[in-house]
């Protein structure tokens, strides 16, 4: 598979070719890109998301919400951060200190490392690794041991109960999530997220129709269901309502993070918000066309746009799609009640797993029957016999 989307690090190296920065090796630029993405995108998102969530909650409950710190309360998250930083640091003396310290690291690494393979724009991706989808799945799973270790090391009964629930839940919902990603891979024939997004464009000039089928969510009837399963599974993976049993505050005090205080708690919360972003971004990239504008190829526009502008539009489109999904996640929090633990496991193993398996087979049959063309292409009768020219 050709590596057709340039990486941050590669781009930076190319830009600085003629300047005094030319001798800087590639790995330094890789480090710079990691610093930029984590400290200017991932962590600030986690901070601002707490503010946005409180504002949305307030709106839905007809309240005002945070409005004291800065204009419209915008600096609330900074005030929260200062508060958390100045809290007493507490490690349970009876617990396991090493595991207690390592647990938040796993959560933060698991959520931030997912950003590597997220294509913000056609040429803006930190590292479009050739196993992208698999990589994101694998890395975000680090959060489960992080939560379980933290709860175990706390030596607190509430924590242990929450941690066990969380492990069972995250582990179970991993299956429908992974199975709902399979249809996309069947359609795209690639694990590289950049390539998958690229194929969701609309380009009637391409010789192979299947390489420019529209958004995956409307590729065939099965992917519509797969999209919803992936979304619901993502909610459960990130411990969001209605699947927030691990931290069910009305039964388990605070669940797995009962003994975490100050910045340790803050890092847990931050990690979870970043994970929500990664989940929604993955949904947007795999099913909603990522940075693609619907039915519009900016490269082949009737006026030639500067490449910088195109990149900006791509990033904007991608962020709008992702943040809309994040908004739905926040919206659901104030809409749905929490599931019971037996309902949770029943829904996963008896509902979502069989349905996801059905979707995989259905998509496989569709791709075979229509040579990888999407519903829209089949309906419009476009690209007839396009597959044979391969």
């Amino acid at each position: 598979m050709a590596n057709n989307s340039a990486l941050f690090a590669q781009t930076l190296t190319d830009w600085t070719q003629g300047t005094f920065l030319a001798p800087v090796p590639l790995w330094v630029w890789a480090m710079v890109s990691a610093l930029v993405v984590i400290y200017l995108l991932a962590l600030p998102f986690g901070g601002i998301a707490t503010y946005i969530e409180r504002k949305i909650a307030a709106d839905m409950q007809d309240r005002i919400g945070p409005n004291r710190v800065g204009p419209l309360g915008l600096f609330q998250f900074a005030a929260d951060a200062v508060k958390m930083l100045s809290k007493e640091d507490y490690v349970p003396p009876a617990g396991d200190k090493f595991l207690f310290n390592i647990a938040p690291v796993l959560v933060v690494v698991g959520s931030c490392a997912g950003f590597v393979a997220l294509p913000l724009g056609q040429y803006l991706v930190a590292g479009d690794v050739n196993i992208g989808v698999f990589y994101i799945l694998a890395v975000t799973t680090l959060i489960a041991p992080g939560i379980l270790l933290g709860s175990w090391a706390s030596e607190n009964k509430w924590s242990l109960l929450g941690g066990l629930r969380s492990a069972a839940q995250i582990v179970s919902y991993e299956i429908p999530v992974a199975l709902s990603i399979l249809p996309v891979i069947l359609i795209s024939g690639s694990l590289q997220v950049g390539e998958i997004v690229k194929q969701q464009g609309w380009n009637p000039d391409l010789p192979i129709a299947a390489n420019a089928h529209f958004w995956n969510v409307v590729h065939n009837p099965f992917t519509v269901f797969a999209f919803f399963i992936l979304f619901v599974g993502g909610l459960a993976e990130t411990n969001r309502i209605p699947f927030d049993l691990p931290e069910a505050e009305s039964e388990l005090v605070s669940g797995f993070n009962t003994e975490f205080s100050g910045m340790r708690f803050g890092l847990y919360a931050l990690g979870e918000f970043v994970d929500v972003f990664v989940m929604c971004a993955m949904l947007a990239a795999l099913y909603l066309g990522g940075w693609q504008l619907p039915f519009l190829e900016l490269d082949k526009f009737w006026i030639t746009l500067p490449s910088g502008l195109i990149a900006l539009i791509h990033v904007g489109v991608f962020l709008v799609k992702t943040l809309l999904l994040v908004f739905v996640v926040m919206w659901l929090r104030w809409t749905l009640p929490r599931l019971r633990v037996d309902q949770l496991m029943g829904l996963c193993w008896k509902g979502m797993v069989p349905l996801a398996l059905f979707n995989v087979l259905g998509t496989a049959i569709w791709v075979w029957a229509f040579k990888g063309q999407s519903m829209i292409q089949v309906a419009m009768g476009l690209f007839s016999g396009g597959g044979s020219s391969h």
Binding site: L26, M31, S33, A34, I38, V82, L85, S86, K87, E88, D89, Y90, P92, P93, V108, V109, S111, C112, A113, A126, G127, N130, W152, S154, E155, N156, K157, W158, L160, L164, A167, A168, V171, S172, I175, L182, I185, L186, I187, G189, L191, I208, A210, E259, M263, R264, V341, D342, W349, K350, V353, P354, L357, L361, A364, V367, W368, K371, G372, G387
Partner: protein, 134 residues
């Protein structure tokens, strides 16, 4: 080596360093804490904790973990075949890959049905069903 993995390495390192960094900043900012006896106890709604928190837990967590491993390995094993599927279809070899995918998934569906019938998917197991007969 592919550049992407260098980036991935730095993402992991920098994210891992962030945690001690933030806790270190906190250590500089916060006042020196004087822990009280109640403050260092595990939180049990204000009561003195009774016994260790490291209790035995229900076997069903173990069962869920085993079923998970089977299915997760399944997904990992299906991914390569799924990646090749589209090219195979476009080249006219779709039947082989489809047959492989179908066989593999069908076997695991059988396993799922087995677990289901056996009652391993029930979170609340019928107590009377498995209780020793008197």
């Amino acid at each position: 080596m592919e550049t992407g993995y260098i980036s991935a390495f730095w993402f992991i390192v920098i994210a891992a360093v962030t945690v001690p960094l933030m806790l270190g900043v906190g250590a500089l900012l916060r006042p020196k804490s004087i822990p009280t006896k109640k403050g260092t106890q595990a939180y049990e709604c204000g009561e003195d904790p009774i016994g260790s928190a490291w209790v035995k837990f229900n076997i069903r967590f173990y069962v869920v973990a085993i079923i998970f491993i089977i299915f997760d390995v399944e997904v990992a094993a299906v991914l390569p075949a799924a990646t090749l599927y589209k090219d195979a279809v476009l080249n006219g070899n779709g039947a082989w890959v489809f047959a492989e995918l179908f066989l593999f998934i069908a076997l695991l569906v059988l396993g799922l049905i087995y677990c289901w019938v056996r009652g391993d998917l029930e979170w609340v197991k019928g107590v009377t069903k498995f209780a020793p007969k008197k």
